[in-house]
């Protein structure tokens, strides 16, 4: 069974795109529609091997979610990759300071995303 990846994005279309790309590469995916759902999914499911998250989301944005997840020391090693649109370098910096491992600009290249997820979950 493939590793479990959590996809957090308020756009169902993006979740579907990411899910399809990862699914074809043999990963299992779960989805969350905003930061709050994402953080609680991580809290509930210890099998999640990696989180891919949008930055701008309603309720709880990606930055807050990263901080929330990283509050728990057992999540310190959990890689969180930000998927974002160009034009907000300051947010990326904050996300990295909060504990995100890196970022990829949307619209993303599926094979690059898969390569990244493979490397981060290896």
């Amino acid at each position: 069974m493939g590793k479990l990846i959590l996809i957090v994005d308020d756009s169902a279309a993006v979740r579907q795109q990411v899910g399809m790309a990862l699914g074809q590469a043999g990963f299992e995916t779960v989805e969350a529609g905003d930061g709050r759902e994402g953080a609680s999914a991580v809290a509930k499911n210890p099998n999640i091997a990696m989180v891919i998250s949008d930055v701008n989301m309603p309720n709880m944005n990606g930055l807050e979610m990263v901080s929330e997840i990283k509050k728990n020391p057992s999540n310190r090693a959990l890689p969180i990759l930000m998927l974002t649109t160009e034009g907000q370098p300051a947010l990326i910096k904050q996300a990295k300071e909060a504990g995100a491992v890196g970022w990829i600009v949307k619209p993303f290249n599926a094979s690059q995303l898969v390569a990244t997820v493979k490397k981060l979950t290896a």
């Binding site: 756009s11 279309a13 993006v14 910096k93 491992v101 890196g102 970022w103 690059q112 490397k119």
Partner: protein, 658 residues
């Protein structure tokens, strides 16, 4: 002969390296020759040729080179003086070494001749050879005891000379190679560097390398500073580029950080680095090549900066020209339809750019309609801009930035401006009548029919013939099928001679194209599929307008695979819409966001079009009926209350006769 001279005489340029080398070597040579004096005195004492005389003579010989050493400017000239001095010292040794070992003392000439190669100058070897030859001949003749310890004849001198010539040839060769390959290496490197620079600085691309902290190497194409200005205090690329675009600098810094972290695959991190810089109207493209160290670890990045402004301008010009051709074809085909499209699209674009839309789905719907119609009329650039905007709305779930909407408006205005001369005056109102209309009126006049009825007839001419509209839709459908890569589709239309008020019906027809698109893209099967289903001939679409009692009906029917109700039901469930009855599903089908198509193309699949049709229909108080039979086809009927905007001619005599 010329070649020989070129080989023996060094090129005039003296590099810094050669100068330093010769300065040192000449100094050593002087010390070396002064060190001979005590040796010669010792030899003279042993051979009983007078040590004091040896001292005086040696010093006398060394006066010349000493003066040369301190007065000559050219190090090469000093070297040549040492070529002469070496042979003079050889002669002194042979002279003071008179006695049984005098012949052996001649070895020293050959040793010195070889040592002179250190000067890396064939001229030095030649000076020495000539010196020793002249000396031997002269002394053999004038003072034989200084050269030979026996009564040697001329052929002995000739044997000595032969050995000198042999050694000199080889020595010149070695000196020259030593000069070219070692002493002149700097010159070679410089020449190559100059060539490389010549290439680098003349290809319109800028190159530079940076390390993983962005620190730039000194070597970089001069064109870079013509774009970004002198680098000044900036030592890193991010500082440098920030002078022209701070955002690019920030992204670059972030990208480097990602590379240094090494968490993401290198090519992924590199792909996140900024790719474009807009510079006072120029567009510069940045691309990056990783440079690895010996162990294969990423060490540096080669940054290649290209000015792609003209390339992009050319592409845009080409696209625009192609687009104009397409638009022109469409105008030729149906000027009226095209004018209507322009008027509608103009309104829609104004609404979008002026933010006059109700909510996000509404905005998306408007953009989608513009995209569809612009595509149909060959306005590829508008269609692709709308496609991008639509993507953005889907991805971001918010309205695109005003700037992007303004770009759409500007592109639209530019395109329209180019069209004006093709169209003449856009608002010209011509009345179109066909032969039948004309005959009807003439007949009514001759029959002295009711003048009100005749007036109504003539007034109806202001209305657009439905036939013309349907013919146009037929062309749209056929060209759409071609552009979507489908096989030929047979489109049959029947207007029943109705006329419609174009202003009232324009936006409905405009949304109507979604029905066609759905039919062509989703409904009608591929040729193979049709054959398997036992359907003969190409797929067909039948479109008809007619009046049924007090209703105006537009009916569309295709003979495709029918609606995939299961798929609609699934989507309805996903969108949390009612899905129990067929009516529920029909409703769901006309809701935005429901599409059974998996791939979103420029033509259809976003599930927006049907919503637009529904909206246009509802606006006119109309209702939609849908009949679909799996494998047999789909039929839509749009029913509208009859009103003044629809004119139905009286049944014609010819028609009843036929």
């Amino acid at each position: 002969m010329v070649n020989l001279k070129r080989y023996l005489v060094l090129p005039s340029e003296v590099t810094a390296f050669e100068h330093n080398y010769l300065t040192r070597l000449n100094k050593i040579a002087l010390y070396f020759f002064y060190a001979h004096i005590p040796i010669f005195m010792l030899v003279a004492w042993a051979a009983d040729t007078g040590p004091l005389f040896a001292l005086i003579l040696s010093i006398a010989v060394l006066i010349g080179p000493t003066i040369a050493q301190f007065t000559f400017q050219s190090e090469r000239a000093k070297s040549m003086v040492y070529g002469f001095t070496a042979m003079a010292m050889g002669a002194l040794l042979v002279h003071f070494g008179q006695g049984p070992v005098q012949i052996e003392m001649h070895f020293y000439f050959f040793a010195l001749l070889a040592m002179l190669c250190m000067f890396a100058n064939p001229a030095v070897n030649l000076v020495a050879a000539v010196t020793v030859a002249v000396h031997h001949l002269l002394f053999w003749w004038l003072l034989p005891s200084s050269v030979f310890n026996y009564d040697a004849s001329i052929w002995v001198v000739a044997v000595h000379a032969a050995f000198v010539v042999l050694e000199t040839v080889a020595a010149c060769f070695i000196s020259r190679r030593f000069f070219d390959d070692v002493i002149g290496l700097e010159k070679i490197v410089r020449a190559r560097t100059r060539e490389v620079h010549l290439i680098l600085n003349n290809i319109g691309q800028g190159f530079m390398t940076v390390d993983l902290h962005g620190t730039m190497s000194d070597e970089r194409s001069t064109i870079v500073s013509s774009w970004f200005g002198e680098s000044g205090d900036a030592t890193t690329f991010q500082e440098y580029v920030s002078k022209v675009d701070a955002g690019v600098g920030e992204w670059f810094e972030l990208g480097l950080e990602s590379l240094r972290d090494g968490f993401l695959p290198t090519e992924v991190s590199i792909d996140q680095l900024p790719k474009r810089i807009n510079l006072n109207g120029s567009i510069l493209e940045l691309s990056y090549k990783p440079i690895n160290d010996a162990s294969g670890a990423l060490e540096k990045l080669l940054i290649i900066i290209s000015d792609i402004t003209s390339e992009i301008e050319r592409e845009q010009a080409e696209v625009q020209q192609k687009q104009l051709m397409h638009i022109f074809e469409n105008i030729m085909r149906d000027k009226l339809g095209f004018l209507q499209f322009l008027a509608e699209a103009d309104d829609m674009i104004e609404a979008v750019a002026g933010q006059k839309y109700a909510d996000l789905p509404h905005l998306k719907r408007i953009i989608h309609t513009i995209k569809g119609n612009a595509g149909l009329f060959g306005m590829a650039s508008i269609a692709s801009l709308c496609h991008e905007l639509e993507d953005e709305i889907v991805l971001e779930s918010r309205a695109p930035e005003q700037e992007r909407l303004t770009t759409l408006k500007n592109e639209w205005k530019t395109t329209c401006a180019k069209l004006d001369h093709l169209l003449g005056e856009r608002s010209g109102e011509n009345i179109e009548i066909n032969d039948a209309d004309y005959k009807d009126v003439v007949r009514a006049l001759l029959n002295r029919d009711d003048p009100d009825k005749i007036a109504e007839m003539i007034q109806s001419w202001k209305l657009e013939t439905a036939q013309r509209r349907l013919e146009f839709i037929k062309q749209q459908a056929e060209s759409l099928a071609t552009r979507m890569g489908k096989q030929h589709i047979e489109v049959k239309v029947e207007s029943n001679n109705l006329r419609l008020e174009s202003a009232k019906w324009a936006s409905f027809w405009s949304s109507f194209t979604h029905i066609l698109r759905n039919s062509i893209d989703h409904g009608i099967e591929s040729q193979e599929e049709r054959e398997q289903m036992g359907k003969s001939g190409p797929g067909s679409i039948h479109i008809e307008t007619y009046v049924d009692k007090d209703e105006f009906v537009i009916a569309v029917e295709d003979d495709g695979r029918g609606v995939d109700w299961q798929s609609i039901a699934d989507k309805a469930i996903e969108a949390k819409l009612p899905h129990a009855t067929e009516a529920d599903l029909v409703n769901a089908l006309f809701k935005d966001g429901i599409s059974t198509k998996k791939v979103v193309t420029l033509f259809s699949g976003r599930g927006v079009g049907m919503g637009a049709v529904h909206e246009e229909c509802a606006k006119r108080g109309g209702q939609i009926e849908l009949k679909s039979q799996a494998g047999k086809g789909t039929a839509f009927m749009f029913r509208f209350p009859l009103d003044k905007s629809i004119y139905q001619p009286a049944p014609r005599l010819e028609a009843s006769a036929a």
